[in-house]
Amino acid sequence: MSSIAAQLILNGVIAGAIYTLVASGFSLIYNVTKFMHFAHGAILAIGAYLFYAFFGLGWAVALPVSIILTSILGALTNFLVYRPLRKRKASSAVLLISSLAAMIFLNATLLAFWGADVKTLPHANPIFDVGIASITATQIAIVAVALLLLLGLTLLMKKTRLGKAMRALADNKDVAQTVGINPERIYTVAFLIGSALAAVAGILIGLEQNLNPVMGIQLVINGFAGAVIGGMTSVPGAILGSLLLGLVENIGIWWLPSGYKGAIAFALLFLFLLFRPQGILGKKQREA
């Protein structure tokens, strides 16, 4: 039984790490631009498909090429879809709807190019049995990358000039501009980094769960839930929230029927919205 408990917790951590991969880029972009970029899910799927497309050339080529191309595509989405809307002083609601439209458009593009059938990335994936639980090489990579993201993004936001500029912009756009921060430039950088993270997420999730054109939709919903639980205003918070979500979901269905998995996730989200709307690490929003 103890080995089952260990495996159960490990499964929760792996699920949480997957949500983390999605939530990190999503919440980074949200933090800077202050709107929900749901097309992040489609960008993630494109990252996975680009990796699939270049897979034949070996990892050393496929990995950087797909990440760089996805990163550029994310910035391009910002440039072509969101920037013109911002110029017209569109509200966050308009940007949110346009992100849904962008998501549908990008998903349909994937469908047109690669078709609807599921693609697999054949790779050696040894199972490591550590006595009380077993984990595959891909799953180790997922958890490791999630932890690196937690560390890296915390450092980025707190220690670097760029992170400080991002936070300043998020805090008060007008004041940030008066001290010489160019919002559009920072937005572009946020989309470049966030979309590169989406590509990493898409590739790892593609290796673990295979590829389909709409793979990003459910992921971005779970990543969003994780981000809200952890605190939308804090990137490390979003990562912690995602881990918590994965753990609670998996441990929850140990006792509850497995069909309740989605219900558990949203019950947790609901509880947080009721009792701690700012999330685990988020700061209380001041009334505007």
Partner: protein, 378 residues
């Protein structure tokens, strides 16, 4: 200026509406006969929908090349029902309400068919499925037919096989869809009736892709065998992979999804040793052979779901025969009566007869993957 523009726009819209009328409606007295088709053409369910659509198209082309029905070509208006009840209902609404068809081929997944049935029944439109196997379809309506046998038998055959192997306890993992849940109930009830016991039953949502803890609950009990009922190969493969990764090495019994020819070809090691239940079907009969040869030459692959594809091929010909018997006029009531009187129709699927519920009278085979090949156990 603005007024002129608005007027122009209204006129343009009117013109568009008029000109599209004859295209979308049933063309009376023209050179084509239009029927509807609703298959899953995108998403995980497209793994069935697309090959079955190809088989349907082959039948249509053969028919039209041979002169059509009394000189008129048969044409299908396609809708994507996405292996989903909601989209199945939308597709049926569109085909009956906008395109005014009197016959719809489909759906493929049971959920689509069950959601479409009340709509087509109300409209008095024939719904003819090549592959929906949920037991509830038997009573779904007078105009509802299928050329795939009900899982009321398929699930029972699997349970009988499992008991014959000496399995006393079985866990069930089933997708939350009409097809898979139908199988789950039939298998559970039959297995219990035969003296076996069900260790636990797990259900997962169609959009899930992490099954680790679900399968861990099965590994924890470690039953004699596991019965898997996924709706699509995509989820089935992922489920089976995670079941093995989490440490279950015991026997697997399933329905037809995981013994699909594509699945065996792409994941031979993963599906090795699993036993599935599929409709009894002689793939070497002349009509089936001709269909599959044509399919191979057109699409460069072996037919992934031969029985369903043969059924879809037969469905086109059955409908064409019915329309032909009515001097080339499409009349749903006449087609309904015609289908109920079909007896020992010699099709690609074999000899076909419908019972009083519009279900075909067909048998099932248990097949096992041995050395990467599918072997019939009888």
């Amino acid at each position: 200026m603005k007024k002129t523009y608005a007027l122009f726009l209204t006129l343009a819209l009117l013109l568009a509406a008029c000109s599209s009328g004859p295209l979308s409606g049933t063309p009376h007295g023209s050179g084509t006969l239009v029927i509807g088709g609703m298959y899953p053409l995108t998403g995980d369910g497209a793994a069935y929908g697309i090959p079955i659509q190809h088989a349907t198209d082959i039948a249509i082309k053969e028919l039209n090349d041979a002169g059509g029905i009394g000189g008129k070509d048969l044409k299908i208006v396609w809708e994507d029902s996405k292996c989903d009840a909601k989209d199945g209902a939308t597709a049926a609404q569109k085909l009956t309400g906008v395109d005014n068809v009197k016959v719809i081929l489909g759906g493929i997944c049971s959920g689509e068919t069950l959601a479409a049935a009340p709509i087509t029944e109300e409209a008095g439109v024939i719904l003819l499925s090549p592959s929906s196997t949920n037991p509830k379809i038997t009573d779904a309506g007078d105009f509802v037919f299928r050329t795939a046998p009900s899982d009321a038998y398929g699930g029972k055959v699997a349970a009988e096989y499992a008991r014959k192997q000496g399995y006393k306890t079985v866990s069930i993992i089933a997708e939350n869809s009409d097809y898979a849940q139908g199988l789950r109930t039939v298998f559970r009830d039959s297995f219990k009736a035969l003296g076996g016991s069900i260790a636990n039953e797990q259900t997962f949502d169609p959009d899930a892709s992490d099954f680790k803890t679900i399968v861990l609950k099965v590994v924890d009990i470690y039953p004699d065998a596991v019965y898997l009922a996924p709706q699509t190969p995509a989820k089935g493969v992922l489920l089976l992979k995670q079941l093995r990764e989490q440490g279950y090495k015991g026997p697997i019994v399933t329905a037809e999804v995981l013994i699909g020819r594509d699945v065996i070809k792409e994941h031979p090691d993963l599906v090795e040793g699993i036993a599935g239940v599929e409709v009894h079907f002689d793939e070497t009969n002349p009509k089936a052979k001709k269909l599959f040869d044509e399919y191979r030459s057109l699409y460069n692959e072996d037919p992934p779901f031969p029985a369903y594809m043969a059924a879809a091929y037969d469905n086109v010909n059955l409908i064409a025969d019915a329309i032909g018997a009515n001097d080339g006029e499409i009349d749903a009531d006449q087609i309904k009566d015609y289908l109920y009187h079909v007896k020992d129709y010699d099709g690609a699927l074999g000899k076909l007869t419908f019972d009083q519920n519009g279900d075909p009278i067909l048998d099932f085979d248990v097949k096992k993957v041995i050395g990467g090949n599918l072997v019939v156990l009888g």
